[in-house]
């Protein structure tokens, strides 16, 4: 260490990993606020509950690995994973869903691969995918109904806790399928008009969801403005979703229209907060475009033809697989070279 202090540069900018992570969490707040407004206490509870699990897991694993937990906890990365999971999981999912997802994310997806910076897969999405595959029913039926559809208003805090912790049965109508789910299933034998008449779509695109997505979009734009996330990834994700939708699925009588793709489900959260996880994404500027586009495209494909109502987790994980390869083929052109070196070992191709 003594030697390192002697090495140039001696000046250091103000970027800090913990600050970046803190900003990511802060930028989620508007989205979380609107989730709470439209869908009740569930997401807020989940965020806090996941945070407790994540920090405990992180501390324990760090201790087991012989690292100083205080130093590493300060990078806030575990907290970001927890917040993303809390935002993405169904608001009324039972407590053990969050527990399984978060524990898997931190212990397996992150630390078993070497910890912060070494994990090839987005930990939050790995956890999410695990519970989605293992507990499909719990993951599809516990989406809270938007408050404005409920005559007596949303579940109170006490009732929400009872549902999550004691599995007390949900009164009828308090949960249901998501707009994406509804559209996909109903459009098979209905027309756009009749499908859109369902209450979950509200007056515009998707009741509640649309505003939540707008809030995440705004938060994401703040991160972009602060240069905390690169522009390439979210732009490419949205493009990857839009292109097939416009080319193949423009017929709203057969396919979910683009507006609902963009404004329902985890789209904005995914594009700006999940796909931009730097560790597991591609790291070259061009690579990020490819990576993001892949996520958008896969999301569309799985949403349209796959068995799951939303697909962000799978799309992200699949592209995580591809990221190292993408990096190899998307090196930038270095100063003084005629062109970029592409491929694993293009021998001296100046």
């Amino acid at each position: 260490m003594a030697l390192l202090t002697l090495s140039s540069p001696h000046a250091k900018g103000s970027n800090r990993t913990s600050d970046l992570m803190r900003w990511v969490i802060l930028a989620c707040v508007p989205g979380l606020a609107l989730q709470t407004y439209f869908f009740g206490w569930g997401n807020l509870h989940n965020v806090l509950w996941c945070a407790c699990i994540a920090l405990s897991c992180e501390a324990i694993v760090l201790k087991l690995r012989g690292r100083a937990p205080a130093f590493y906890l300060k990078d806030y990365s575990a907290l970001v994973t927890a917040v993303l999971l809390g935002l993405a999981l169904p608001p009324l999912a039972p407590w053990w869903i969050s527990l399984v997802a978060t524990t898997f994310a931190i212990v397996f997806a992150k630390h078993l691969y070497g910890g912060m910076g070494y994990n090839p897969f987005n930990p939050a999405m790995a956890g999410y995918a695990l519970v989605l595959i293992s507990f499909p029913v719990a993951m599809t039926t516990n989406w809270a109904t938007p408050s404005s559809m409920l005559a007596d208003g949303q579940l109170g805090l006490g009732d929400t806790l009872a549902v999550i912790w004691q599995q007390s049965p949900l009164p009828d109508g308090f949960s249901g399928a998501t707009p994406l789910d509804v559209y996909k299933h109903e459009i098979a034998y209905k027309t756009e008009e009749t499908v859109r008449a369902f209450a979950v779509f509200g007056e515009h695109f998707a009741l509640g969801w649309e505003w939540v997505n707008v809030a995440f979009l705004l938060g994401g734009l703040v991160l972009l403005g602060l240069k905390i996330i690169p522009w390439q990834t979210p732009v490419a994700v949205l493009t990857g979703l839009a292109v097939p939708s416009l080319l193949l699925g423009s017929d709203a009588d057969q396919y979910t229209p683009l507006s609902i793709h963009l404004l329902a489900g985890a789209t904005m959260l995914g594009a700006f907060f999940i796909a931009t996880d730097p560790v597991s994404s591609s790291t070259t500027p061009l690579g990020r475009l490819v990576y993001g586009f892949g996520i958008g495209l896969l999301t569309y494909i799985i949403r349209t033809w796959g068995g799951y109502p939303d697909a962000f987790a799978f799309a992200v994980l699949l592209m995580n697989f591809a990221a190292p390869l993408i990096d190899v083929y998307t090196q930038p052109r270095t100063y003084g070279f005629a062109g970029p070196k592409r491929g694993p070992k293009s021998r001296e191709n100046q």
């Binding site: 090495s7 140039s8 540069p9 000046a11 900018g13 910076g117 560790v279 790291t283 500027p285 270095t334």
Partner: protein, 683 residues
């Protein structure tokens, strides 16, 4: 004014952009508010013999000598080197190893002068008008003054005043960007001595005859820009203002900014017709030509919160840094830290007794608050901020990964050697990873590895050459014996059948083939080729081919030697090329010998009855002595080479070349002898 000719039609030059870059706090006002002061005369001066890039100078004074200010005390050693002069009058008190300002913290040979306080000049040769001098004379004056690039690299300036061999210099760029935070030496120099600077540029342009002549300066120095614009009035020198962004003063970046050209990887600006010089260097050139003054002082920025009287001082080279700082209110901080150069690329001084040298542009003594010590590094989160900041457009995060895991090949593939160590990546890294430190380490490891490789390659080549020679000698003896036997048999047979054809030499040529299956295959292939294509084996043509190959090899070895000094990155490639060519030379020689042998045979065949005109041939004894002598010399040289390899690596190239030459000589002698023997046998 005569020299720089530029296009007068672009009053406003387009400034191009380079990738990345950062905006660290500038801290320029800390030191640029006061005029350049003159540092007092220290009691002793320490002049390192190597203040420049290249070979250290050789002392030409002895302990006890009295020297005058400006007197040469050490001579440049070879082309890439620079003289050293006494910065004041005094007595030489020591010539020994002392602490020098260098990142390695090592000591090196220095001449110590006890100053006598009189500051008495040696006689100088002034020159009112540089145009009255020839370009050669100007270069001599620059070399005589011991000027080496004062921006930091310290490359001998005179060399950069030769236009590159074939090409013209299109652009002479004066680097006045001074993009490093804290440093204001050039800024003050330009404000106060713009006229000297412009005259210095004119002199350089006189020598280089560039198509255009640009001064690149960052827009954070309005006063200096003002002064420059006034001073260049009436000349064709153009002041180009570039946006403030670190590292716009990096040579490659400035070239991109001003010309939109890029220096190809592994090459130098001269290769694309550009020469870059620093502001201080231009002023030194002016003073050397106009007043005959050697380089004995420079302007150095003293700054940082541990120094109470910050500013720029004109300081004699050799002034001990500790002593100098003490004159300006230096308080050692805790921990004590003196940075030579700026905060981005400077290095921390190991021993404050080290002196100011030709390249010392700034001494920065920061407090722990203004430049905090490095924080513990966190994991790389692959955020890519470093790649965004990298002016070389590398992927620092990948390089870091490869450097850490010692995957040198991958690091090289990701252009590690195009990293200019500007530190922008480390600066922006949110995880506070000392990236540049890792790159430097990896680079030096790779270089070391290459050197070892080269060394073993040389040993291998030498060993193989020796083996080959021994083998050949054996074969020759064998061949000779057989030839004699056959000749005898033939003579015997000739008595009975005078017209019988003789093929002694061909038998000889195929005899050694049995010793080595690989060689046998080659020989067989060649023989096949020979029989199918008789004209191609014309010995004259082959001789020219051989000569050409040898000439090319010579040139390559020259290039290699130069590359060793100028751009080590190229050495490996060149070495490989040399080896390849070596093979080619050997091949050519074999072909030639074979052709010679067969033409002799033919001659022998056609003149079986009438022996050839006796040529003016040296006697066999003479040839043998020649060969013996050449062999002995080669042996000696090889030994010298071996020794040099362990003791003076810089000599190795030269020696290899002479060994190579001598080997060719030996082989020629061997050939001559063999030929003589053949003739003998045939007769």
């Amino acid at each position: 004014m005569t020299a720089p000719v530029s296009n007068p039609n672009h009053p406003k030059r387009a400034v191009h952009a380079f990738h990345g870059g950062i905006h660290p706090p500038e801290h320029k006002v800390d030191s640029n508010q006061t005029p350049i002061a003159t540092s007092p005369l220290p009691p002793r001066l320490i002049m390192p013999l190597q203040q420049h890039l290249g070979k250290a100078a050789k002392p030409i004074v002895a302990v006890g000598d009295h020297v005058l200010k400006g007197q040469r005390i050490a001579e440049a050693d070879g082309a890439i080197s620079a003289h050293v002069h006494a910065p004041t009058s005094g007595t030489i008190t020591a010539i020994e190893d002392r602490a020098i300002p260098h990142p390695s913290g090592l000591s090196d040979r220095c001449i110590e002068i006890r100053t006598d306080g009189e500051d008495r000049w040696i006689e100088l040769e002034a020159n009112e008008h540089y145009e009255t001098l020839s370009v050669e004379e100007i270069r001599d004056k620059v070399r005589g003054a011991g000027i080496a690039g004062m921006g930091g690299a310290g490359f001998p300036t005179e060399i950069k005043m030769h236009p590159p061999q074939q090409d013209k210099v299109n652009t002479l760029i004066i680097n006045a960007a001074e993009c490093e935070p804290y440093i204001t030496a050039d800024d003050r120099l330009m404000r106060e001595r713009a006229d000297e600077l412009v005259k210095g540029i004119e002199i350089m342009a006189y020598a280089l005859q560039p198509g255009e002549c640009l001064i690149g300066i960052e827009d954070n120095k309005p006063e200096a820009i003002e002064a420059l614009k006034r001073a260049v009035g009436g000349t064709r020198i153009e002041v180009v203002v570039v946006p403030t962004k670190y590292p716009s003063g990096g040579e490659k970046q400035l070239i991109k900014l001003l010309t939109d050209k890029e220096v190809p990887s592994g090459r130098i600006p001269a290769d694309i017709g550009i020469v870059c010089q620093n502001v201080g260097t231009a002023v030194a050139v002016f003073r050397a030509v106009r007043f005959g003054e050697p380089l004995i002082s420079r302007i150095t920025t003293l700054t940082g919160d541990q120094i109470s009287r910050k500013g720029n001082v004109e300081v004699l080279l050799g002034t001990p840094i500790q002593w100098l700082l003490n004159q300006y209110g230096y308080q050692a901080g805790n921990p004590e830290r003196i940075i030579v150069g700026g905060p981005m690329m400077g290095y921390a001084l190991n021993d404050p007794d080290a002196p100011v040298v030709k390249t010392t542009n700034c001494l920065l003594a920061p407090s722990a608050e203004e430049l905090p010590l490095a924080e513990p590094a966190q994991a790389c989160i692959r955020c890519g901020l470093c790649a965004e900041a990298c002016p070389a457009e590398l992927l620092p995060q990948q390089l870091y990964w490869f450097a850490r895991s010692q995957e040198h090949e991958k690091a090289e593939h990701h252009n590690l050697f195009d990293c200019i160590e500007c530190g922008a990546c480390s600066y922006v890294c949110p995880s506070a990873i000392p990236l540049v430190h890792y790159y430097r380490h990896a680079k030096s490891e790779i270089k070391q590895h290459r050197q070892e490789q080269e060394k073993s390659d040389r040993a291998r080549i030498r060993f193989e050459a020796r083996q080959e020679r021994l083998e050949r000698e054996k074969q020759e003896k064998e061949a000779k014996r057989k030839a004699r036997a056959e000749a005898a048999a033939k003579a015997q047979a000739a008595k009975q059948a005078p017209a019988a054809p003789a093929k002694p030499v061909e038998t000889a040529a195929s005899a050694p083939a049995q010793n080595d299956p690989k060689q046998a295959a080659i020989e067989a292939a060649l023989a096949r080729k020979q029989s199918s294509n008789q004209e191609a084996e014309d010995p004259e043509a082959l001789k020219t081919a051989l000569d050409k190959a040898i000439a090319k090899l010579d040139k390559m070895l020259d290039a290699l030697e130069q590359a060793k000094q100028d751009n080590p990155d190229q050495v490996e490639k060149l070495t490989r090329a040399v080896e390849k060519n070596q093979v080619r030379v050997n091949q050519a020689r074999q072909n030639y010998e074979r052709a010679l042998a067969s033409s002799n045979t033919q001659a022998a065949n056609t003149t079986a009855k009438a022996p050839p005109e006796p040529k003016e041939l040296p006697s066999r004894e003479q040839l043998v002595t020649n060969l013996e002598k050449a062999r002995a010399k080669l042996e000696k040289m090889s030994d010298a080479l071996e020794q040099a390899q362990s003791e003076q690596p810089e000599q190795v190239e030269k020696l290899i070349r002479s060994v190579e030459k001598n080997r060719i000589r030996v082989e020629a002698a061997e050939r001559a002898l063999a030929e003589a023997d053949k003739q003998e046998d045939v007769r």
